[in-house]
Symmetry: C2
Subunit: 430 residues, 2 copies
């Protein structure tokens, strides 16, 4: 006997239409996998739906009608934003409906409140689509690696930034602004690209990844976030000479003193898997005690991949895999941990100093580095142009506080141009 | 209130000890994730257990005692082999116990019988550890991509073969036999390496992947299997010149006429993700209609990664994700499909022909190819040594039957050495 499961979809934009179509197009396949009859019983959208044929399905202009419809067992929230979405999700949960969402901002900012409500009403809130589109990274961390202590999660989790860095690396001499314009023309970047290129979108996703990995509450406000707008073609070229690619990463790592939570451009060894991830593709690398390094790669956005994740969550609910909470930890299992500031992070750094080509400059710089316990692992001095030179340095692993201190002193030297470019360097494969 | 869940482990070799230790070492973490108290209540092993401290746990020399112990809720089968293992698993299932196994041969050969029994007794049989060690590929296919029609699965699923090919590619002039010896010395290859280097192990795993991807019964007997022992340093070098890496892949693809099921060395474009997978690492690439290309990378063997997968399966059972069958399809959802023979497979081919350097040889070869509707996409003629030359050809996509026909005719030419090397060529990223 097949049970009929009613799905209501709120928001019929690209992802909404993709979800609608996927549930229709693959219904036979999904029935083979679930033995259940999943039906879209109501759609809520403020504008006429585009990109899917909703004939035969009741359409509400008031999305809250979807959350109040008794035929809806599972509500899919794809309206975006955080205010109305929060209200909608809370209403759905309070009405005993499971909720699937692709809304990373909503989850990163209001997840705690939503999860508590979901526990109270004994429904599931799932958000696979919120992190890396078609890549089942939430499932992999929460279930596939559930036997492990996770040490680190590092991901290319924003396609726009990765597209821009990839294009800059390909072209050699096109700067950030030019490539951003191209990305906007291709539809890979928004008119206002701040959320993507300044790392806010990645910070939302990293917040969720960190909680799932380490079983800690959500701490979006404490994510250190640095975008890619200051990366120059010169940096990309020097990085390559040193054997690295520059990638915009979200990194969360558990250290003895607490948890690192940081989004920033990063030099990654060119031979590592994350360095191979080009264009709008995403990838997430996980280091854990038993499984070691695992990497998950795929499309991080787009109608198909995002709908794939949304519908996978629906199928999970329908199959009755009800034993897992949203974050994969029990209420008691969620432990508060200190979030480390960026000054407390220890890693290697790439420095690119533009200096006047006068005797003694390098000596002054290396003296200051030495005084701050920073040693030089590699150094390239680039040909002087009109009396100026670029000094590129890779440091050993140092505390960021020490590096900041050294950079402040170096920036006060008479022959050093400001600002000094510094980019963090990480290696993940072992 | 925590429930106590009893686990019995049969077989304390590397993986058994790893599983024992992981359940002990990460018990606090696992409790945070499950809210349940998972305890090892009995161990079955014929020799004294090594690599873990079993004191306090009853040890049975007769492994069947584990399957008959009422305190055992979940039996972990790690004894290997297929005869006793089958008997053990059937007894455990008949006694109402869930079964977790890492035994690919058992599952590929006897899965159908076991799954039927499991359905009858309403228990779960899970085998994440049987395919790619620490990579949660079964979960990703069966759950993470459950909304998709899968088109193709292609994997580097045997670490020994990948290690040998990687070393051969690194060294440049070391042949298969030399590198195999090194792999044996390092413990990466068995004394009798047949299962690994001739592709039988990969064929077991591919059989399972294919059933999970397409919802078809297990068809181990119909897997086309070709090993890596005929690959030469010359092939690796020529492939590189053409922009390819040689990888030993298991490939299963659904075509209009049926399902391909094949294990063989494959030229993969050097820029693709699978080409980056070196040493003993594994990776599985999936093409599906909604999510597009996704790739899963990690360690395919070893105590830690395999135990990670075994314990993840235990946690799944404990969390009560009981809605999913072993293959991810309902009994009715499993459909028989034709398995295509290798002659029916259409792909590009790499040919390496050693010929005597006399006029007209190339003309004769290209005439035969043309007569069989095979066109040449790339050709390298290598310098003659003592009157001999190597002709390396990349063909267009052709039916293997046509290629076999052409090769038979070419091998009859007076100035062509036998056998002619041919390796299939595939491209997966788009």
């Amino acid at each position: 006997m097949m049970t009929k499961i009613g799905v209501g979809i709120c928001g019929i934009g690209t992802v909404g239409a993709g979800t609608f179509n996927l549930l229709q197009d693959n219904s036979a396949e999904i029935r083979r996998r679930t033995g259940q009859d999943i039906q879209i019983v109501r759609v809520g959208c403020r504008k006429d739906p585009e990109g899917c044929d909703v004939s035969g399905v009741p359409v509400s202009r008031d999305i809250f009608e979807v959350a109040n419809d008794p035929a809806v067992d599972i509500l899919v929230e794809l309206i975006g934003g955080t205010e109305t979405a929060l209200e909608l999700v809370k209403l759905a949960v309070s009405n005993g409906k499971h909720v699937i969402t692709a809304n990373k901002a909503l989850m990163a900012l209001h997840g705690a409140e939503i999860f508590e409500l979901a526990a109270q009403y004994q429904v599931q809130v799932k958000f696979e689509a919120a992190i890396a589109g078609g890549i089942p990274i939430v499932k992999s961390l929460r279930e596939g690696l559930a036997a492990n202590k996770i040490h680190l999660v590092a991901g290319i989790i924003n396609g726009t930034s990765n597209f821009i860095l990839t294009e800059m690396a390909k072209a050699g001499n096109r700067n950030f602004a030019e490539v951003l314009e191209e990305a906007q023309a291709l539809g890979y970047a928004e008119a206002d690209p701040t959320f993507d290129v300044e790392g806010i979108d990645a910070a939302h996703k990293l917040t969720l990844l960190s909680s799932i990995a380490f079983g800690i509450p959500l701490h979006f406000d404490e994510v250190f976030t640095e975008g890619i707008s200051s990366i120059t073609p010169e940096d990309i070229e020097y990085a390559r000479e040193l054997g690295y690619q520059i990638k915009h990463l979200g990194i969360t790592r558990e250290m003895p003193g607490g948890v690192e939570l940081r989004v920033h451009p990063t030099l990654v060894p060119a031979t590592e898997m994350l360095a191979q991830v080009d264009g709008v593709m995403n990838a997430v690398l996980v280091q854990s005690d038993a499984a070691g390094v695992t990497v998950y790669y795929g499309a991080g956005a787009g109608a198909g991949p995002t709908a794939s994740a949304v519908v996978a969550d629906i199928i999970d609910v329908v199959r009755g895999s009800s034993g897992t909470t949203s974050l994969g930890f029990t209420a008691d299992g969620l432990h508060e941990k200190t979030i480390l500031s960026i000054e407390e992070v220890c890693c290697s750094h790439y420095l690119n100093l533009h200096v006047q080509d006068v005797p003694g400059v390098l000596a002054s710089i290396s003296t200051i580095l030495g005084q701050n316990n920073i040693s030089i692992e590699a150094l390239i001095q680039k040909d002087a142009r009109r009396g100026a030179a670029a000094i590129v340095i890779l440091t050993n692993d140092v505390m960021e506080a020490d590096l900041q201190n050294a950079l402040m002193q170096i920036s006060g030297l008479p022959h050093v141009e400001n600002p000094i470019q510094h980019i963090r360097v990480e290696s993940f494969d072992d």
